[in-house]
Subunit: 611 residues, 2 copies
């Protein structure tokens, strides 16, 4: 019974769509108005929850035990994975809002994200096969010619083919500008010969589909160095002839990584064009006369969505670990109350430190959800709102929220799930219970899609200064406005006092870093960036928690403690209280550290690390 999908209901999703976020705006868009409303949450998501339990959870255990295997040059996925992939794509859960044709039944991103959260919770290792196929298809939808679209999209959407993103190479990970993959022109201006090595390619090869469509970064001969000279190609594992037949395209899997977790996810090293036979379709235009190419700009356009999706994966793992831990702590009987040591033995959920652990987990899960779903809401505005100004504002919000939503949940998930293991005690350390696997699965998210250091540099470098600082300032102003409007709400005085203090502290961090940089101490920015990202995320998280809690508190008071839904609402209030009073004080602690400006890590000689 190792794997266990422990989501009990979709109540929290209902709350976010029906009671918290102003989703009537989304459902008024022409793409959705005739098909969906905010009242459909249960109708849409309950069947998905059941599917996750019945179809996906069982494969998660199989995948963890059997691993992806690499035999005679073939990448073999665990049994059942191929069938599940086809099923999910056919049902439209994989690529559901890519189709931009008039009559397509597409879901708003916010619904789609909730579907993905549950699928990821049921099997973190399976989700990337679906998610990367979506990501690859998305790039084709956005930037490719109609010919390429027609050739690849239908079969990617129905699950006949899968997709990947090929960025990382042995010597180029965080610094993608240093990739060595090359592309050489052919007689057809849209087709290039491709040669290179890629590593850590999730779903880079497998036996689930008849073809795999790689979205591949390479530098066209003569293009400039660095990221600005990189182009994006469609490099299929099997070349698609005009008549639809397939032929080998010289894309060879050379290894499968043995990972700490995600055992059923194929992380593949690829050797491309070794025999000089690999061809790829260029997406967009070739480099201009200055050698400037379009690949990184194209990739970046989809990157915010992929980064937000990574935060969602960490949220899914944390939430599922939390729900499992709750179940265990209700069942496991051990010890007696400290306040009544001669009393009966009690389930451990009654022990104070276990209650604290569960409340802490819930507060973080609620904060992650608040941060991430508010950002998905903005994605729907950005994509579907007819007013360009609304789209622009939504995009600005996303620019700031993305590094926070990617890094914060993926950083915290590791120790939060560690605390789940702790609550289980010795059983948590065994693979008979689910939390050990979730811990092993979750650690990759703080690394992929740009490590969390990259995210922190994105926040304190690009996002702080974007459009002369106005983008970041508008984001913070929304938070300040919320504080001003609500700081005197009775019953939340201490919470808002801490919230105000935290907002001020984040401002002070930015000022302090500005001061250091002004003095020429540029290294102080990267030195403190990760901690500043954490603090800023806590303020964003606290905002969403308080916003939800004020609504929930009103509902709880209206309903009274005997109402069946009271516990849901009061739980939301407690999440906010716990987070504001126990977690948020970290924000001004970080501010103090930033202002102190210790630079020992810059001064210490390398040789001192021998000891």
């Amino acid at each position: 019974m190792a794997s266990n999908f422990a989501y009990k209901n979709v109540r929290d999703f209902e709350f976010m769509i029906q009671e918290w976020l102003p989703t009537e705006k989304i459902f008024s868009y022409k793409q959705f108005a005739d098909y969906y409303s905010k009242d459909d949450v249960k109708a849409i998501l309950e069947p998905v929850r059941n599917m996750c339990k019945d179809m996906i959870e069982p494969l998660n255990e199989v995948g963890d035990e059997q691993h992806v295997r690499f035999e005679n040059g073939k990448v073999i996925t665990p049994p059942g994975f191929g069938d599940l992939f086809h099923y999910l794509q056919e049902e439209g859960w994989g690529t559901s809002n890519l189709d931009d044709s008039e009559d397509a039944m597409i879901l708003p991103s916010i619904y789609y994200a909730m579907v993905n959260e549950m699928i990821a919770a049921a099997s973190p290792m399976f989700m990337p096969y679906v998610g990367l196929t979506t990501g690859a298809a998305d790039l084709i939808v956005e930037f490719a010619s109609d010919k390429i679209k027609e050739m690849f999209l239908p079969k990617m959407m129905d699950g006949t083919w899968a997709g990947t993103m090929c960025l990382t190479e042995p010597t180029a990970g965080s610094d993608v500008g240093d990739i060595l993959s090359k592309a050489y022109p052919t007689d057809d201006p849209a087709i290039y010969k491709i040669k290179g090595q890629k590593i850590f390619i999730t779903g880079g090869d497998h036996d689930m589909t008849e073809n795999i469509i790689h979205l591949y970064l390479a530098r066209i001969e003569g293009a400039r160095e660095g990221t600005s000279g990189i182009s994006l190609f469609v490099v299929p594992k099997y070349w698609v002839n005009e008549d639809g037949s397939l032929e080998d395209n010289d894309v060879v899997a050379t290894a499968v990584e043995h990972k700490m977790g995600q055992h059923g996810s194929a992380t593949v090293a690829l050797s491309v064009g070794d025999e000089g036979r690999c061809r790829g379709w260029l997406i967009g235009n070739p480099p201009d006369e200055n050698g400037r190419a379009e690949g990184m700009r194209q990739m970046f356009q989809c990157m915010n969505f992929a980064r937000l999706g990574t935060g969602l994966l960490a949220l899914a793992c944390t939430a599922n670990a939390y729900y499992n831990t709750v179940e265990y702590c209700r069942d496991r009987v051990q010890g007696r109350p400290l306040t009544n040591p001669k009393g009966d033995r009690i389930p451990i959920i009654e022990h104070e430190d276990i209650r604290r652990t569960l409340t802490m987990l819930k507060a973080h899960v609620d904060a992650f959800r608040g941060m991430i779903y508010k950002a998905y809401y903005m994605f729907d505005l950005r994509k579907f709102d007819p007013d360009p100004e609304v789209r622009e504002e939504a995009n600005n919000f996303i620019e700031v929220a993305t590094p926070l939503c990617k890094a914060y949940p993926t950083d915290e998930a590791w120790w939060l799930i560690g605390e789940c293991i702790q609550a289980y005690g010795g059983y948590g350390y065994t693979e008979e219970y689910p939390v050990a696997q979730i811990a092993r699965d979750v650690k990759i998210y703080s690394i992929w899609e740009g490590t969390n250091y990259i995210q922190a540099l994105d926040l304190c470098g690009r996002k702080w200064t974007m459009k002369k600082g106005t983008v970041y300032q508008k984001f913070m102003q929304q938070i300040r406005d919320f504080y001003q409007e609500n700081k005197d709400v009775p019953g939340f005085e201490k919470e808002f006092e801490n919230f105000g203090k935290a907002i001020k502290a984040v401002d002070e961090m930015q000022m302090a870093i500005g001061g250091y940089v002004g003095e020429g101490k540029i290294s102080m920015l990267p030195l403190y960036a990760r901690r500043i990202l954490t603090a800023t995320s806590m303020v964003y998280g606290a905002w969403t928690l308080l916003d939800m809690a004020l609504i929930a508190n009103k509902r709880a008071e209206e309903l009274g403690a005997d109402h069946y839904d009271y516990n849901f609402y009061i739980g939301k209030v407690m999440s906010a209280r716990y987070y504001l009073k126990n977690v948020v004080p970290t924000v001004w602690s970080i501010a103090e550290v930033v202002k102190t400006g210790d630079s020992s890590a810059l001064e210490i000689p390398d040789a001192a690390f021998d000891y």
Copy 2:
């Protein structure tokens, strides 16, 4: 090349023994005066370091891959484990200071701990076989009759037999007082029939030795309920007849746990006396007329040592992960300096966030070492000093230091090693590099030997109030005295300002909890106990770091930057600076949280955890 024992030297051990702790006191004791001095560090520890590299490291990889297997009722250890066990015991690294005969060549605990740290770093999964044999033998040395000593000790010490501790049962983990194992008198007053189930028994069965000697907790028929009715028995896997021959003793392995890490360590479920044939030797006296037995008191006497040893294991894992990460970050080239983006590519150790990560790791490793070796020093005083008052004071110190040394390193190790994975990037998540395994191996230590919640209750319950609070107050007074004596040392003003603030903050936490308890809010103590333990540990760690840094700083100034040893000393100074300015502010942040006294975790209804 997954496993890698990356200790490069024994310089830090030299420093602690030769320059920091007043070890001349230890080496003046009659047990050591003729054999050892503080100048032997290299002579004793360098060969051990080489042995760890040559003999132990290779088996650590084998063990992780091959796991302990359970086949046809037999527990099979990975190849080479048995030979290594015999070798270590024969060489005296296992049980070296147990022999209390006049002419025994025994090592001081502090040396012995350094040996253990390195063995544990080379193979966390192997160390418990040695450590538990020592622990079991130690209980026999302390409490058993001469007859039992003669029967078991020689063969345990030379590696012919191994030992275990049998406490946990399916329904009794943290609450050992609820064990169901029973003991029934026989015609021989020293021998009892034993019946029960044990789980999570480390080394509980295996094929490395011809016999396994279980130190077994059970309740003699008629003894009182709870911990005070429990007795301690020697229950060998094979009964030892008077002539030395062995016969089956009805101790049956029923399962081996599948764990997240420590794959080569046999964690066994035992069924004892199922056929009514199991016998055990009672240690000490049977229960008195009130049903009070001696077992828990005996067990507790050795428990402080076992708990300190657990902290040592977490230190070993963290240090080895840190040293490995340093090596990787020196080799891995990626990106360019933020301050010179057009410059050459650089090894990642030059990136600011990587430097911060390594400095943070070093600061924690140095703090753990300071805390733990100061406690081991006290163990030598307690055991060997001729003056009962010195022994008493040393024991008082140990009482307070034990929960801190057990819980703090084992709590922090998990996220610290997570940050090692982060520094490696994608490679850190693969099992081709060592840090993933170290993370998997380390998580158990926060659970075993009393979970860290148990440690926190020990601190805030037993230790705060022990001898009317004088034991704890004396511990804190030593810290305050150090602060007063050194607070004006030039160049460390901010460090001591923070140290003073942290000492005050820990006092305030105790006051706040006293206030809550005075108001009848007893649950506030367990609710905050783990955080208070963390804060108190940081103060203890900061003390040792500053103490070491003041010595090191003087030496660095004397030697000058060109001296080969300068980097060692300046590294110690930087550790203290980093810790005091970046970690210690957490202490008053925790104090603020404790004083705020949020009780949302107590108020939240259980049903709210469904969401």
